[in-house]
């Protein structure tokens, strides 16, 4: 019976999420961002193909110029340029979730969705009609997790389609790496979503939760940059920085082989942040009065 009630609550949340315009605006913007990323790759690859290469030996300054004093490129420059954009094209596919800035869109949508439900009084109404607060919280978490999944799959499919327009060599091993990246990015996105959901449950309005979330993002970034600079100067150990909140996406979207510390940061830390966010968010929601 209780499971059935959770399904009812979830279906109501999904209904409202489906009706939220920001969900579709987010998908469109994501497509635009992915397209622009690949467009840069295509333009770069085309430029590399059309580069005029000179056979002349460079002068003392290492540069060969034409009659208008414009520099000419060597075969080495052309190869480096081609490799750069081929690699960027490949990394764009591997990091499809990250490229699509899912973190950012999920932050906005979760804050709007939860904030609206609080400010419109939907949460108040549902709880007053006997929906348990635990169900209400987890229903929103599951709805947001579904949103992350849909966005991730959408980003992957869009990346795949755009990658196929101008493919670089892609092996079975690469497919394995792609799946690894996708899974890790998804997990990291779920942990990020949990943090923003917690913030939304603490703030209880779209505006303030968005403000706090963006503030959290910016302040954390600044603090970590300062710490990182200080550690660089003093020669201290910087490995622990990747364990901090919202710092796992770069590792998750990298196609490079991951070491034990990185694997720990990208697999264990998301679970830690998910558990902590759910714990704090739920405990507060259970304790506080609903306005």
């Amino acid at each position: 019976m209780r499971n059935k009630e959770f399904a009812y609550t979830l279906s109501s949340d999904l209904f409202r999420l489906k009706k939220l315009r920001s969900v579709f605006v987010g998908l469109i913007l994501m497509f635009v961002i992915i397209f622009l990323t690949y467009a840069v790759c295509w333009i770069g690859m085309n430029l590399a193909t059309r580069m005029d290469v000179t056979e002349d030996t460079p002068g003392e300054d290492g540069i060969v110029v034409d009659e208008n004093d414009m520099p000419l490129f060597s075969q080495q420059d052309k190869d480096a340029m081609t490799a750069l954009f081929d690699n960027l094209n490949r990394e764009s596919l591997m990091g499809s979730g990250a490229v699509a800035s899912i973190e950012f869109f999920v932050m906005i949508i979760v804050c709007i969705f939860v904030g609206k439900d609080f400010s419109n009084g939907t949460v108040r109404l549902m709880v007053s009609r006997g929906t348990s607060r635990v169900h209400t919280f987890f229903s929103k978490w599951v709805s947001a997790a579904l949103l992350v999944t849909i966005y991730s799959v959408f980003a992957l499919i869009m990346s795949g389609i755009l990658f196929s327009f101008k493919p670089t060599p892609f092996t079975g091993r690469d497919f394995g790496i792609l799946m690894r990246c996708f899974s890790l990015e998804w997990l990291v996105n779920i942990s990020t979503m949990s943090i923003f959901l917690m913030i939304a449950f603490l703030c209880r309005s779209s505006g303030s939760s968005l403000g706090v979330s963006i503030g959290f993002y910016v302040v954390l970034d600044i603090v970590l940059s300062v710490i990182s600079t200080v550690l660089q100067i003093s020669g201290g150990n910087m490995d622990w920085l990747i364990f901090m909140p919202l710092q796992q996406m770069t590792i998750a979207s990298s196609s490079a082989t991951l070491g034990a510390t990185e694997l720990c940061a990208v697999i264990i830390m998301p679970f830690v942040y998910i558990a902590a966010s759910i714990g704090i968010g739920l405990a507060t929601f259970l304790k506080r009065d609903i306005k």
Partner: protein
Amino acid sequence: MNVLETKDLTKSYRGKVVLDNVSVTVREGEIYGLVGRNGAGKTTLIRALLGLARPDSGEIAINGARTIQELEEERKKIGSIIDSPALALHLNALDNLKSIAFSMGQRDVSKLKALLERVGLEPADPMKVKNFSLGMKQRLAIAIALIGDPRILILDEPVNGLDPAGIYEVRELLKRLNQEDNITILISSHLLSELSKVANSYGVLANGKLVKELRSEDVEALSRPYIKVVVGDLKAALSVVTENYTQQDFDILPYNTLALYDLSKDISFVATMFANAKVPVLNICNCDADLESTFISLMGGSHGANDAHDEPVFEELDVLRPLQSNDLNADGENAKKEDNDEK
């Protein structure tokens, strides 16, 4: 049978007690009016009943259920409106109903459309709720409260923002729901005259305390018709009244006004009585039973409640408050009036 019950319910916010050992009882089939000023604790009491506010101490029982899980189960049978209507502004009316109905496992859209028609809204209207008038929002909130055929309705200011026709419709709807479907209704409202047209029991709250629980017969007994006389010389008028009336059943109202409750002497007798004594009468009329002043006096008059939450309507009505004996000074003058003048 008691369907809603609180026992010694206490709730405070940051050290300020907003509910102080409140014990109310709502019986099955009643329309229970919750009366009190702003800040008296009406909404907090309703929130506590609906599980939105956790009481510091005391007990809540709904249909006899007392544990958290049992209460959650019983709350499924309660429809409610609390504060402003809880509506998703970016959705239309039908989608708003769907959104709540789905959470209760109800997927019969035809029933939801019928509900909208019942409160006078057009089910096929694609207009988003953010473009609704306050009255339309209130109607929609009532429709949402009626989802799932509730056995109890808890309504906090349900006629706020409605035009007179809308108020009449809601009143008739509530009466119908109560009489035909035997739905128990707890309703709070500032519109006391409106409340008295539907409620048959009352709970009067003042400063977080339940002052009194009354049935409508008790309220009627407390509020009596009277002859109101505005005189030019209050002192002379008082001596005339004490000479002519064996029962000293009168009140002194502000602005040299007397309220005479002994109706064995009619208005013409009163006019003649003052004329014979050469006491100028500036105005004289028969007044009906005044429920509002009865409630206000039960709530402790204008000085009984939290001044921080006073509402203008009560301050205006303060002039109607009958004077108490301690309002008179040693010379029998209207001390209250003097106080007002000094202010």
